[in-house]
């Protein structure tokens, strides 16, 4: 129980995937303009990350590792994730149209989100067991969502601010992200566990 709590705090606060590991910056800058789209994207990412781990971990442990093919993991994982996302899209469309309407637009964008591939690779690198890997993916997805939600609040303020012309748009967004990142750095002094 204690390790799970530690894992959660580490994933969400000290090692936040967006603000300190720099994965998934594209959706972080692109989708975080409105709270509703941040929530939609976040939910889709949590879902896909957890499912991608459930699918890729057995492939790695049962197929690649026994056959000494671990160097193929990048190819195998990205292919599985790409196929899986398409599959999820088709199934959701048929079975749960309301959920599809809520997440639909964000699902295909996730295939090329480096955070998803990054998490599955890091679970393997850290030597996590299957259960811990899945939990870690959910926590990392939550961290991504938290960063997106926090930042959508910051951005809605920037929209109305009077910024010098050269800094309008992406530069000011990046500098705001830098300040949000400073606040997350404060957690790194925390002694966990």
């Amino acid at each position: 129980m204690k390790t799970i709590f530690t894992l959660m705090l580490t994933a969400i606060l000290t090692d936040n995937i967006v603000l300190s590991k720099f994965m998934g910056i594209c959706p972080f800058l692109g989708v975080s303009k409105k709270l509703s789209s941040s929530l939609g994207m976040g939910a889709a990412v949590i879902f896909v990350m957890a499912c991608a781990t459930v699918v890729t971990y057995p492939v790695y442990a049962l197929i690649l590792e026994p056959n000494n093919l671990t160097y193929l993991r990048t190819v195998a994982f990205i292919l599985i994730i790409a196929l899986f996302v398409q599959l999820v899209e088709i199934i959701l469309k048929k079975i749960m149209p309301p959920l599809y309407n809520a997440l639909g637009v964000y699902l295909p964008l996730i295939t090329t989100n480096c955070a998803v591939l990054g998490v599955t690779l890091q679970n393997i690198d850290n030597g996590f067991s299957f259960g811990i890997s899945v939990l870690n993916s959910v926590f990392v997805g939550m961290a991504f969502t938290l960063a997106l939600i926090l930042f959508s609040g910051v951005r809605s303020r920037i929209e109305n601010a009077d910024i010098p012309d050269t800094f309008k748009g992406v530069p000011s967004t990046l500098i705001a992200a830098s300040i949000v990142s400073v606040s997350f750095m404060a957690f790194s002094g925390m002694q966990i566990g």
Binding site: G30, S37, I78, P171, T173, L174
Partner: protein, 219 residues
């Protein structure tokens, strides 16, 4: 002559990183040291040139409906190759780039060039385009990494610059990455006298083909 133009456009005028705003994740993550930025840039260039070459050769063989998985597998194959090469010859760089070496696979620059250029053009222009875009990316990574290393560690390419000035270590940490990148993009806009991009629109987004240009992400 036109091939030369395909090559030079990626260096400055259509720099994928500072003007196109693509490939942000590695730009922020590996630019804490100039040599890491350089290594990452060159590794990406290699993958970009090879994948552009193969995709432009196969452009008529790949069915439209499965082009994305096809591109990704080709790119991932070359990324695995680069991982082997770096692991064998430059293990220190392999260690410091870590997961981000594997993540070249999902770098939007490579997928973007495959989608927008290599799948529509002949082999030689595609190679020139890949080389130019790759070197443009390398150049921008090297620039950002140099600024961060000089300000944050007081060093450049591992050489100490001055002992008298206390380095501001925040620049090599994560907030410094966002800050320096923001300032450099603003500077490029100032020099180029162009209005800064309001958003990463569908035109510049390699995912546009996947989401059917619904444009929701930019809202």
């Amino acid at each position: 002559m036109s091939n030369f133009k395909e090559f030079t456009k990626g260096l400055i005028k259509e720099n994928p990183n500072l003007i196109g705003l693509l490939g942000m994740c590695p730009t922020l993550a590996v630019t804490n040291q100039a040599k890491n930025g350089l290594g990452m840039g060159l590794a990406t260039t290699f993958v970009l040139v090879c994948s552009n070459l193969i995709i432009s050769l196969l452009k008529n063989a790949i069915p439209k409906s499965v082009k994305l998985p096809c591109y990704i597998v080709i790119i991932a194959g070359f990324v695995t190759l680069v991982e082997f090469i770096l692991h064998g010859y430059v293990p220190s760089l392999y260690e410091s780039l870590g997961t981000f070496l594997s993540l070249i696979t999902v770098n939007c620059i490579i997928l973007g060039r495959a989608e927008m250029f290599a799948s529509k053009n002949k082999v030689i222009p595609s190679i020139c385009d890949g080389l130019g875009m790759g070197l443009g990316f390398t150049l921008s990574l090297f620039l950002i990494a140099s600024v961060r290393e000089i300000l944050g560690a007081g060093q450049w390419m591992g050489m100490t610059i001055s002992d008298k000035i206390e380095p501001m270590s925040i620049f090599v940490m994560s907030p410094g990455g966002f800050f320096v990148l923001g300032c450099i993009i603003a500077l490029v806009n100032k020099i180029a006298k162009r209005r800064p991009p309001e958003k990463i629109g569908c035109a510049g987004c390699p995912n546009a083909a996947v989401c059917g240009q619904k444009g929701e992400c930019a809202e």
